[in-house]
Amino acid sequence: MTARVFVPADSSALSIGAELVADAIRDEARRRGLDTELVRTGSRGLFWLEPLVEVETAAGRVGYGPIAPGEAAQLFEAGFLNGSAHPKALGLVDDIPYLAKQQRLIFARCGLTDPLSLEDYRKHGGLRGLERALALGSKATIEEVLASGLRGRGGAGFPTGIKWRTTAGVTADQKYIVCNADEGDSGTFADRMLMEGDPFLLIEGMTIAGVAVGATKGYVYIRSEYPHAFATFQRAIERARAGGLLGPSVLGSSHAFDLEARLGAGAYICGEETSLLESLEGKRGQIRVKPPLPAISGLFGKPTVINNVLSFASTPWILEHGAKVYAAYGVGRSLGSQPFQLAGNIRYGGLVELAFGATLRELVEGFGGGTRTGRPIRALQVGGPLGAYLPESLLDTPLDYESMAAAGGMLGHGGIVVFDDSVDMARQARFAMEFCAKESCGKCTPCRIGSTRGVETVDKIIAGHDRQKNVQLLRDLCEVMTDGSLCALGGLAPMPVLSALNHFSEDFAKAPARVAAE
């Protein structure tokens, strides 16, 4: 019997040697004349165990990790093809508590299957959601998405079903489905993992949207910082076409739908939906005034559903299992599951998909095991560079849209960046303004100019100039930016600044540093 060995080709895994490990295993198997099949998968999202090598056994998939390329021979020596003991053996991968305790709806297949095998995708439950949507028809499909309570996973949390219903209700000669895969928030990598590890799920979700609203063409806008995700996704589109999932007749139905992947060019603002549309049209990524809403007049002036990767990727599960089952996950108005991403200074960094409502502490301490440096946690930034910095005392905040807002923060795209006690929060506040200045599209004055003035003002505070007055000035400036910017960049950049000021005021009152300003 051919032994099946699995090594991730996810870019995080590659960044610490997965390619070399795969080569070493292949060479070693050949040298020993063993009949093995090496499958390259996505990642399970247990990144401290990467490169994680798995072997198929009668009992299930057994894991070994983290494996260095030089350990390949040793693995064979120990008989890992039969799942034998080894110092790096982890037992059955599904039983690893980090994974076993999760509620994986979106990421159920990621790391398990060959991302580019449509056959593998089908074998593991793929395409059932789309098949049901085709059977239900447009109206009932949208009803399911509405009833599921699914809200936009990009960060804004707008009900996905309402966007779909709006676009479906407009008559037009052409409609578009656009996927926002411009995952620019630091501390987030779920979109990337999914596009590299289970791209057909996104294709299926977008196709469901296309069928539901009557769109025949879709675009996926992928950031250029994700070259591997872009390459994998392009190949997945080709295979989906060859397999009849995309094209003039979706799964043999009367619906046509095709996709194209487009590459961004290094602009954080293009994660804002209207900037993204401008960029897709070939222009500078400057935001648009809303209304008109993209759902009515979006890409090339046509009705456009624009959703995040995870929003689309949630819909196949919803259609397959029904809205009621989905809505049983979560709390309050935050229903379903959210892939949280544990990042930064964290011992066990990775992807943790759970129903909404788990607390920050369960994530960061329970799953994450505290800081990687072993020092105390001082701050968490939740929701990317525009998210609030929260102190250790707020670790018991539940992770859902409403609780996070009540705590003065936001959930965003579900990224959690951990900082230990060596962090200087005044520097972090300065960076928030600096980042806004660099990435502002320039449309709104408070964002374009205010952010630069913000950097200068924080510098004055750090240098000890007229502190009280400058802190007040900074707060005023934040208010102007919040109220006077059209989009979330200028509107939310004050959030990390103000939360740093409010929760970590001692860092703004330290003796001036001797280091010269940059």
Binding site: S186, G187, Q341, R372, F435
Partner: protein, 160 residues
């Protein structure tokens, strides 16, 4: 990047023509040109403008808006170093100063002729293994001073 061919007007025209009927073709064309030549030569601007029926100013406006596009050739290897919050929490700023003070390589320097170019990027989606970078498109995670030294030495041809 090294090993790219010199700018060639007729090849540029061919690349532009291949995409001119694509809806929203500007970015795909700019990516094709940069992929081929390593940068966008100013001589290509009127060709793009003409093909897409937009002004030269608009074309230049698009090129200058996006951080990725270069307007002059860049030699050497390219290290896109992440300096966003997750990598900050794991000491990426220490690596930036190490590059500058130990190796004399300044991030985002204007000089286009060195063995290693360090370009600041914000997030590579490898935040569980920070600090992270892309070296000529190849992901590198859990960077530290030693790994930076290795990358510099390899770029300068001192090893491998």
């Amino acid at each position: 990047m090294s090993g790219r061919m010199a700018f060639d007007l007729s090849l540029a025209q061919t690349l532009i023509d291949r995409r001119r009927d694509t809806p929203g073709a500007t970015l795909p064309i700019l990516h094709d040109l940069q992929e081929q030549f390593g940068y966008i030569d100013d001589a290509a601007i009127p060709l793009i403008a003409d093909a897409l029926n937009i002004s030269k100013a608009e074309t230049l406006g698009v090129i200058s808006f996006y951080h990725d596009f270069h307007r002059s050739p860049v030699d050497g290897r390219a290290l896109k170093l992440c300096r966003a919050e997750s990598c900050q929490s794991m000491g990426c700023e220490d690596l930036v100063s190490h590059l500058e003070f130990r190796h004399g390589i300044k991030a985002d320097a204007e000089d286009n002729h060195s063995d290693l170019h360090v370009q600041t990027v914000y997030c590579l989606g490898n935040c569980a293994l920070s600090p992270a970078a892309l070296l000529d498109g190849v992901p590198v995670g859990r960077l530290d001073r030693d790994r930076i030294d290795g990358i510099v030495a390899a770029a300068q041809g001192k090893v491998q």
